[in-house]
Symmetry: C2
Subunit: 219 residues, 2 copies
């Protein structure tokens, strides 16, 4: 059993929070203000290990913090969570810096020579940031068997031990260890985030968010 903060009350936060409770962990869902309707409803139904509060309440509670906020609001949410509540902790960043203000398709608010993952690591140097899971839809994050056969999830981060901890977490979600690819340090989050520009178009071509890519290697 581990204590988790899941920051964000949307479909991603609910999916990850719910899975963590199912796996026997204690989870605090954080939002801008304690008593958020989505969070209260989630905490009432997700199971015994579920509770809710402000971003700071949740981050203070969790030994591991999951950033499941929308990418444009992630830095503000983490500031509200508080650097002291993040220091020394594993910070699993699953957010995408998608900016829909110009309509569909979205652009990335940061890309190419920087990434949200890097921005978070720079803003919170005492947190151990690992980017992962941002390349699949919420249901697939926590139940990879919704798609047939092998498919791939990526991890990016500066800390080897932090990435190993995330790999074990992903395995507990059902991702085979062989399907977790370590892209390298946190700057490789650029690749995982920029892939979203392809993801949004594949979403259109496939006609469903229930898809992923499998990395196929030569002999």
């Amino acid at each position: 059993m581990t204590t988790y903060a899941v920051l964000g009350t949307g479909s991603v936060g609910q999916a990850i929070g719910g899975k963590l409770v199912t796996l026997g962990h204690e989870v605090a869902m954080g939002s801008r203000t304690a008593g958020n309707a989505n969070a209260v409803a989630w905490a009432a139904t997700a199971g015994d290990g579920a509770r809710e509060g402000s971003f700071a309440d949740a981050a203070a509670f969790g030994d591991v913090v999951v950033n499941a906020t929308s990418g444009l609001g992630s830095l503000a949410a983490l500031q509200a969570a508080g650097a002291d509540n993040l220091a020394g902790k594993l910070l699993v960043d699953v957010a995408n810096p998608l900016d829909f203000t110009g309509g569909f398709p979205p652009v990335l608010s940061v890309s190419n020579d920087d990434s949200l993952g890097e921005q978070i690591q720079r803003a919170f140097p005492d947190a151990r940031v690992v980017k992962t899971l941002n390349t699949v839809t919420a249901d697939v994050m926590v139940e990879p068997s919704r798609l047939p056969g092998r498919h791939t999830v990526f991890v990016s981060g500066d800390g080897v031990a932090a990435k190993e901890q995330v790999s074990r977490l992903l395995q507990s979600f059902g991702w085979p260890a062989d399907d977790v690819i370590d892209l390298g340090d946190i700057t490789t989050a650029r690749g995982a985030e920029m892939y979203l520009a392809l993801w949004v178009r594949l979403y259109g071509a496939v006609g469903s968010p229930y898809f992923n890519v499998s990395v196929v290697r030569g002999a």
Copy 2:
């Protein structure tokens, strides 16, 4: 038999040009100046259908034009080829706008709200631009069976007939029709190009350019 211009004398141009000759097509490899050493050597060894010349010579020769130049030089190469030599023709753009001037990893010289594919289509409105094959290494472009099992190639372009023509070309290279995904109009080239930010990191993680992604769909 179709006549092709392959603009660019690097590994991508040589792979595509060679494959086209093997398939019985007539191919002119174009470079900045006729008599380019790479192009002359290629034309001497690729087979009876191979010849070389300037960008304009090649583009005038080919009924189909393949842009296999480096992305940073593509617009200049196509200007040298001449708008008149491109008008009405299928222009298969396989280039990536990778800028290595700052070292590795490269950044994209255009991305997010624009793409090289779109720049080319805007600069040559009378050409029928289709982006494809830029997401795999040269050898895999023309011999997808170098990787085991199913894996995916993308097409982006404004013209349905042009994309169908490219799909048939890809099938002649060995790509099963079911593994060719039509992402949509030429703006979807952003997705295929921005994926390169992930590709360059996968190259590091896999330790070889012989990989690709397979799009796995849910039931």
